[in-house]
Symmetry: C3
Subunit: 342 residues, 3 copies
């Protein structure tokens, strides 16, 4: 991994530098754990004291903190995003291999782009196209006629089933499954008939898919994940869903079939969204929330229960079974009092 | 994939045909996306207008729509199931390979049935028996003494641990794990002792298991999934569960240990069913529902919270902590009014 | 698998024996399914009748049942833990292979301990250290500079990403992913910037990780799972969490980033715990419970909704949207009655 001077970082990140441009950093770290050759960051003046106590050799800071620290600082309007970019430069694995490992199984009719790497045990089937600069990790399975754009990283154990398409710069984490059959069954008298799933999955560019997340292929038409979508681990996206541009979804969330989610949404962990819904752009769904109807207005939505000590919960939750009766009792009281008053 | 005439489809599906038996179709498609060489379907008269606007070359229709369309139609009492069967015929991958790939690792004491396929990187251990016509995908792991019936399809990256048994025609999607140890721990003074899990998993015939779903082996006796069960992705079935015939379970559902679910149940996504319960036949559990007691009467059951705008939720949900007190207040009012009235 | 006499078991388990020390058992079984050469167990006098009816050749019993059964009995203060240990002895796979399978891909700069086994298709990258007596299953991926202690068992299809560390005697089930990137994204004007995740995962000793569970690497510092933690299947542990010693977590649970859970906690299945929380030692979280605030007092906590027949639920749940108004109505009634009374 490279060692960079603050001058180089300033130039490559396009931000201001306060202090010695020849000072070197070799990695990023948190304020607490950083040593003198580490770069850390301060997101707001609220953390100024913590930053002063840090051993970090250099900091990324917001303009409001200019001049506050004696060590070298990169000054950026968005310190978090700037720090993320600095981390990418400092932690870039420059030595990643290129070429097809002797233990990979690549069909002669597959097309592998320039400077791509195909790891040990990876299987690439007929008609698949792997773009230039891709890294296909150990044991990945790339089905027939899959198309993968440029500079994608597939970590080990990723499955991409036949015919699916990925854009550029996608990152797929271990164990995720793109394009397994959707859950389609027709009931016939006394048994299920499998409905073949003949659609595919389309991932846009700059999509990240977490470990062991599953995105099912469409039944007839496609499942679509638009550009810039970020998916955490253990998420289920069912057949024929569409997830809009830049929407980010936290772990353990399930989205049932044919639901369409807009752009720039934030979906908390372990949310559950039923099928055939429309959720508009710029919606925030709280963690643990159950969504069973369309959402047509941007904003934040929640459906969780508050936590209670178990004994309190026992006392309170039982009444939920009789809430309708309770409302009727209140209505009866209101009626009686009104009558008494008249 | 085959091109079929409507006459061939009629004969193989055992349904009525209205129109030219020589007309050809080569794939299935939705009403909206279908072109002239595609077969689509209409499930009820409600979609008749959409069907009229479709470019589909042929349709599967219910008897109530006989004579409504000028293009060729297959007339079937159950259009969805008939369409599913037609799709299976049209999208059958006739070219799937047979034999053991040179990159597979098959123990000499394993038995591989006729016309079976063992993909690159697949590992089949001693004593395993793979039935005729099975397709074992790339990187599958088939443990010692596993028995797999005829015509099963294991997609890439499936794990079947030692001694487990599958019936015929099962379909296992990528990343599913059959027969990992159940979660068994005995507390001893100051640490956990692992309880060895010596049961196995038995899958009946015609069982489908979704991507990254896990079915644990029994602790002492077996975990049993009966014939015709359909499991979606990312489902957890714990040790010693029994899932009855033809029950279908949607994604992200968890079923804790030793719970028995009857036949013909429908379990919605992200349901959570605790352990040691009995759920009778023909129960429908809504998505997102938490089940903590036996269900002895067929029917539909639910436990979810309604979605609210976050501000409304804040106002309302806090009262759940004081529901018992609220009920007491209503009771006090009733008592006082009764006293006042007397 | 070994056949053992009750005398050998008594000596190795350090418990009392009542009956013939030469009697042999060859496996464990449940009371219901046990035959004459099987060992079963009785956890308390409540199951004495069931034990009398069992065909089991021998039993592990608590001291309170001494003399109750005519067949040989091992008498133990903790019958469940003793039975678990007996099962480990009886079901020990004595024949497990040693050495590096010819189909494994081990980097020359990796260090493999004595008596370790590296299965077919396993990949071990540069700088990795595998401890003595480890069993690395088929298709496991061990990233660069990973350190694995002594006597760990990694079942097939496990991924351990670069730099992560495991203690001794860990058991990792198929499909689990240790050290995938945490979910870190910084928003910059109109798109997400990935925040590189440069921390790692540290697993203590005697940690068990279930099938398809994911534990993400830290963003800057590490994600830490302390000694003796037991994790079931399909659990998500996000970046920078710390899970305390001997805490056990059931399947389908999600724990969001930077949350710290104490020692000796029991977390039920499908619990959801949001990020940046502190949960103290000895907390029990019920299955299906949503935790959105710190817990500073040991004890049991719950937040689930009760199950209802769907028709009842429809009647009751709608009122949850108007709970605040209902409370206001009750308050108005109280005020009016107070006024009337004065």
């Amino acid at each position: 991994m490279p060692v960079l001077t603050l001058g180089e970082l300033q130039a490559r990140l396009g931000v201001q530098l306060q202090g010695d441009p020849a000072a070197e950093v070799e990695a990023v770290a948190s304020l607490v754990s950083a040593g003198p050759r580490r770069l850390s960051f301060v997101v707001s003046p609220r953390y100024a004291d913590q930053a002063r106590a840090s051993q970090a050799g250099a900091l990324v800071i917001p303009p409001a903190l200019t001049g506050e620290f004696s060590r070298p600082c990169l000054i950026a309007a968005n310190p978090q995003a700037t720090f993320a970019r600095a981390a990418s430069l400092l932690h870039d694995d420059l030595s990643h291999p290129v070429g097809i490992h002797s233990g990979a199984v690549v069909h002669p009719d597959a097309v592998i782009g320039e400077n791509a790497y195909i790891g040990p045990g990876a299987v690439v089937e007929a008609g698949a196209r792997i773009g230039p600069g891709c890294r296909i990790g150990a044991h990945c399975f790339i089905g027939a006629n899959v198309t993968i754009g440029a500079s994608c990283t597939l970590h080990p154990h990723v499955t991409v089933q036949r015919g699916c398409r990925l854009g550029d710069r996608c990152i797929l984490h271990p164990g995720c499954v793109i394009g397994a059959d959707g859950f389609g069954n027709a009931w016939d008298t006394d048994h299920w008939v499998k409905i073949p799933q003949v659609g595919k999955v389309e991932l846009g560019s700059d999509v990240e898919v977490g470990a062991n997340t599953t995105i099912d292929r469409g039944a007839l038409d496609d499942t679509v994940i638009e550009d810039g979508v970020r998916l955490d681990n253990l998420i289920q996206i069912a057949h024929n869903c569409r997830i809009g541009r830049n929407t980010a979804i936290a772990a353990c969330t399930g989205i049932a079939g044919s639901t369409r989610i807009g752009a720039n949404c934030l979906i908390g962990g372990a949310a559950m969204i039923i099928g055939h819904l429309e959720i508009c752009d710029a919606v925030q769904i709280s963690a643990g929330t159950f969504v069973a109807k369309d959402i047509r207005t941007p904003g934040a939505y929640t459906s969780t229960q508050p936590l209670m000590a178990h004994a309190d919960w026992k006392r309170n939750a039982a009444h939920l079974r009789h809430l309708d009766a309770l409302v009727a009792r209140v209505k009866a009281l209101e009626k009686q009092l009104k009558k008494d008053a008249s």
